[in-house]
Amino acid sequence: MYTLEVKNLTKIFGEHKANDNVSLQIEKGEFFVLLGPSGCGKSTLLRSVAGLEIPDSGEIFISGESVMDKEPGERDVAMMFQQATLYPNMNVFDNVAFPLKIKGVDKQKIEKQVTDALELVQIPEKRNSNIKNLSGGEAQRAMIARVLVQDPEVFLLDEPFSSLDHQLRVYMRKEIMRIHQKTGVTIMFVTHNQEEAMKVGDQLAIMNNGRIEQVGTPAETLQQPNNKFVAQFIGHPQMNFIPAEVSEQDGQLVLKVDSQTYGPIAQEDLIKQPESTDLTIGVRPEEVSVEKEKKSGEDKLNSKVEFTESTGANNYIHFDLGGASVQASVPEIKDWDQGDEVSVSFNKERLKLFDPDGERIK
């Protein structure tokens, strides 16, 4: 039995399909991240689970029980919003106690639970503060405490840290991971920040245009992307995409980039012969190796350096292959200059091939 299961959920706003036949399963205690660009439907999905949106079709189960007929308050979920939703007319204690008060929990229990929650989020000294006097981080902690006291089956976090500055966001991210480890609660977390998603998530669901493109661990989505969208969305710096044409040469498959030949490539890379011969090679900058000067021979492509770039820790050179700008990681930036001849080869085992529809050929 899954703690949370979504089956064939579709939600339409006017003409726009915010969620298009989405299904997913979340195990107990999992930190599940919904990741995708703005407008991909991830927040709509989360809100549907909370009961704040009513889906057009599909079903949602919490602890094996359908919640489609249940009001948001009856679903055993707690939600944390992007904006601070602490009530300005109550102090920190009353805000955190609010859900318990609504449920009619008796005063002593409220006192204990709220005190414990404030301890856990490490702001016990703020219990009587006016929420207007809280810093951004303290307000977030109070909101987490308010979610915690509800002791729900699933935490729903809708971009909870996106309004914080970078440093605080990194800090709160660690906090939520600490709290997750300590309490073992099931979390569904929405973000558009892939770095955040990779760091916190046990499982990622990458969404685009209302559909889930791939579900997997951070490592799986990074190393085995289902398609071009996932490949380009996950990982930093971005994967290079090079247009290529596949053809047969002496009984083996080779790739043609511009008029140069790369290959042969292993047959298993192309078990399913694509209908079109136009493919896209996907390769990460750290999987591209470069040598100075023109070299010919197997698995070598030649180009000229267009510009170099350094972030201090990492150095990159950029060159053109098949009309696409390609980025390669290099150890020393000073070895390279604009206009240098460069001979390029790829880490063949990591090479990804995408068909014209963007699906990866496995």
């Binding site: 009001e71 948001p72 308050g73 679903r75 707690a78 939703t85 300005p88 007319n89 609504i102």
Partner: protein, 298 residues
């Protein structure tokens, strides 16, 4: 130099308004204050004006009819204000929960809600006098069709005041509703969604979210409406003339009768007006003070 001359220009531009309100508002008030210490009677124009100290105040404060009119004023203003604010809040909540996403209906209804407030008080008074009429009135006609007997809305001294208050509430609750609706819309939507996920009922939302967030606006609407209610001469004079007997006689009505309608005791009426002014100012100061103190304490 440029700034100085602009400041001077501003003063000139504001001056007419200040002069007007001084001449039309402050001067008559000061004149009334002066008169209240004299013995002026408009029925006896030949009588010499004499300073008689606080005699007028002593007499009028001891007068039972004045005391009754003061009670009537307070009852009328408080009931009318509380009624309009509560009904206004109910209408605002209805608009918020059911019509928020229907802009056309919302605009139409808002306009309709404003019409009573935009209609002159005298017109409203005549309309309702007709509606309440025992013989010609629509209300009694409908009651008759439903099998009830005729109700003397304005000439039964037990219900005359409530009938007038009802008219006042009818006129102003739509106005209050629009103010409060604007306040409701400005409450962040996430506050409501949070409460929804927590499972708060409608009344819990009302108590813990809506009322606290609308507190300032509720008070502003309350004070505004209270001020409007205190000036009730037109409505009451057309609808009941203070009657039956003195059942709906407010301070305004009584002082008018005292100075103009009856015995011509202008000075005594002035004293009554000054007393009313002091009561009004003091009660407003107390309310505003309480509100501000609470705000600081938050």
């Amino acid at each position: 130099m440029a700034i100085k001359s602009r400041d001077r220009l501003l003063k000139y531009l504001v001056a007419p308004a200040i002069i007007f309100s001084f001449v039309a508002g402050v001067l008559p008030m000061l004149y009334a204050l002066r008169n209240s210490f004299y013995n002026i009677n408009v029925r006896l124009p030949m009588q010499t004006e004499r300073l008689i100290g606080i005699t007028n105040y002593k007499i009028i404060l001891g007068n039972e009819r004045f005391q009754a009119s003061l009670r009537n004023s307070i009852v009328f203003s408080l009931e009318g204000t509380i009624g309009a604010v509560l009904l206004g809040l109910a209408i605002a909540l209805f608009l918020y929960y059911f019509l928020r996403n229907k802009p056309l209906l919302l605009t139409g209804l808002s306009t309709m809600l404003l019409i009573p407030a935009l209609t002159g008080r005298i017109s409203v008074a005549y309309i309702w006098r007709l509606l309440y009429d025992p013989v010609l009135g629509l209300i009694n006609h409908v009651l008759g069709l439903l099998g009830f007997g005729t109700v003397e809305f304005l000439s039964n001294s037990n219900i005359a005041m409530q009938s007038v208050v009802f008219t006042d509430v009818w006129q102003w609750s739509g106005f209050a509703a629009l103010f409060l609706y604007a306040g409701l819309v400005s409450i962040p939507r996430e506050y409501f969604e949070e409460a929804q996920v927590i499972g708060a009922s409608f009344f819990q939302r009302l108590r813990y979210i809506i009322i606290p967030n609308l507190k300032g606006l509720l008070l502003a609407v309350f004070l505004l409406k209270f001020m409007i209610s205190l000036r009730n001469f037109d409505l009451i004079s057309v609808m009941t003339g203070g009657g039956p007997g003195t059942a709906t006689e407010t301070v305004d009505m009584y002082l008018y009768w005292l100075a103009v309608g009856g015995r011509g005791l202008l000075s005594r009426a002035s004293a009554g007006a000054i007393i009313m002014l002091v009561i009004t100012i003091v009660s407003f100061m107390i309310i505003i003070n309480l509100y501000q103190r609470q705000k600081v304490g938050e």
